[in-house]
């Protein structure tokens, strides 16, 4: 059975914290249980598993649980599964699952992302970073120059925006300020202390123009999104959210050979696959591992012209919870925690179902965009509640 659309049904999330001691597989199962409960599904109805980036043994904190382990640990009889890093970014695991259910490979797919970086930092003997010798692959072009973090790579795009288009620190601050204000209303958010413009402006620099508050923090958590086939919706008890369009495009798979980040071609391609337009969107949940990435996503998705992102968010009213385009209503990664992409899809569904409680946006939101990725990695999903 094939269908033009796949649907998000259950969503779930574990405890979100730092230096948790609960086993990462147990965190994953917590999120699975919540998602199954919400969907009214039993684990025996799950026949697919999808994850990003799969288990990474050299950096276990980054990804301690793989698709294969979850299949086996939960006794899932899988007719389709996938996990890997060579995909258009974190939510690429959801786009893969959507294609699987649309082509009849599976009916209900658990998509998950489990992160354990704070715990791993605290317990290096249990979660060692394997010390490699020399570097190869893409990092050979950056690491020898001590460009060791995505913060540094992203900062160079941000600096070009500063110099070419006039992005100011006060404008950029609106991502962190919005995130942190929204996080105060989210009981599961990682960072639940207020942040002021003065705090932001006096923060220490990480890599210009990005300061401490422009960066997310290592987090321990698991997030689950269940993707279901159109002809399996009669098995679920929650309001399904339709994946209207999805995209994950790139021009150069490189952090330094591409003029701009992959959010631009990805945003352009998303709108080619739908009759909806940016004007129809009620809320955006945009990847902000570093604040500037959300600014670039606003431009890439066509909410404003390229170069206008700073002016678009100026003052913060437009992207606030009660603004015309509420952004990252769970706190994004900067406030909500480094859920690594999956938090944005989770929150889009929360909002479209009207389950945001203190942080629920007004009106009757029906259309949301969620994204993951920065640099050469980008995935965008357009979600609709019919």
């Amino acid at each position: 059975m094939s269908s033009d659309y796949a649907y998000i049904t259950g969503i779930g999330q574990s405890e979100v914290g730092m230096r948790l001691t609960r086993h990462p597989l147990s965190l994953t199962v917590d999120a699975v249980r919540e998602a199954l409960d919400e969907a009214g599904l039993d684990i025996s109805q799950i026949d697919g598993v999808s994850t990003y980036p799969g288990r990474v043994s050299a950096m276990l904190g980054f990804s301690p649980v793989g698709a294969d382990e979850l299949v086996d640990a939960l006794g899932i009889r899988a007719s389709w599964y996938a996990g890997g890093m060579e995909i258009s970014s974190q939510l690429g695991a959801v786009t893969a699952a959507a294609m699987a259910v649309r082509t009849g490979q599976a009916r209900h797919v658990i998509c998950f992302r489990t992160v354990y970086e704070a715990a791993a930092m605290a317990r290096p003997e249990e979660y060692p970073m394997s010390r490699r010798g020399r570097v190869d692959g893409y990092s050979q072009w950056t690491a020898p120059f001590n460009a060791l973090s995505a913060a540094v790579w992203t900062a160079q795009y941000a600096m070009r925006h500063v110099k070419q288009y006039g992005l100011t620190r006060e404008q950029l601050a609106q991502i962190a300020l919005t995130d942190r204000a929204n996080a105060l209303l989210n009981p599961r958010a990682l960072v639940r202390e207020p942040l002021t413009m003065d705090d932001y402006m006096s923060a220490r620099m990480i890599s210009t123009p990005l300061c401490l508050f422009d960066c997310d923090r290592y987090t321990d958590a698991s997030t689950v999104i269940i993707v279901s086939a159109a002809d399996a919706l009669d098995e679920v008890s929650c309001t399904p959210v339709r994946i209207e369009a999805m995209a994950g495009s790139v021009e150069r798979l490189s952090w330094d050979q591409a003029e701009w980040m992959a959010c631009y071609p990805t945003g352009e391609d998303l709108w080619k696959r739908t009759d909806y337009t940016p004007a129809d969107v009620d809320t955006v949940q945009l990847y902000d591992g570093f604040s500037f990435q959300a600014v670039a996503w606003l431009e890439g998705l066509g909410f404003c012209e390229r170069g206008e992102g700073g002016r678009f968010i100026e003052g913060g009213t437009r992207i606030a919870l009660d603004g015309e385009l509420p952004l990252n209503t769970f706190g994004g990664q900067i406030g909500g925690g480094r859920l690594h992409g999956f938090g944005f899809a989770h929150e889009a569904v929360v909002q479209l179902r009207g389950k945001g409680e203190a942080r629920q946006i007004q009106g009757d939101p029906r259309v949301a965009v969620c994204t993951s990725g920065g640099g050469p990695l980008a995935t965008a999903l357009l979600l609709v509640r019919d």
Binding site: A147, S149, Y157, Q257
Partner: protein, 134 residues
């Protein structure tokens, strides 16, 4: 420069690039059929798929395309601040190198600055760093 830098593992694709500094040469892979430059270096042209490619010596000058001043110590031995930049290489359209701008104060670097390569040797690797052309 205190702490040793992570060094690339040399292989048949990248050795010409990473060891060119021994002869004070900045070498970028180029297609002999369509003349496109190929970076990172690979044994096939990304423009015409030809495998008739070879490293070519370029002038070693360029322009700062963008940059950042890194203040965070990513490991305890790291000396900060320093400039990470992306340099557009003269004579090799479309090729950018992530590098460091050295020999000047970190606040003296800006987009559009003209720079020239200088190599820093560590073991068998010659890292192309750049300094401003005054």
């Amino acid at each position: 420069m205190a702490a040793p830098r992570p060094l690339p593992r040399l292989d048949s694709d990248n050795t010409a690039f990473w060891t060119g500094g021994k002869d004070n040469e900045l070498r970028i892979m180029r297609c002999r059929d369509c003349a496109a430059f190929i970076h990172p270096p690979r044994p096939v042209c990304r423009n015409c798929l030809s495998d008739n490619v070879a490293p070519e010596v370029v002038a070693g000058t360029g322009v700062v395309d963008t940059f950042t001043v890194n203040h965070q110590k990513w490991h305890p031995a790291m000396e900060v601040p320093f400039v990470v930049a992306r340099v557009a290489i003269d004579g090799a359209p479309g090729v950018y190198l992530t590098t460091n701008i050295v020999g000047c104060a970190v606040d003296d670097v800006d987009i559009g600055d003209r720079v020239r390569v200088m190599f820093e040797q560590q073991d068998d690797v010659y890292l192309p760093m750049f300094e401003k052309i005054s």
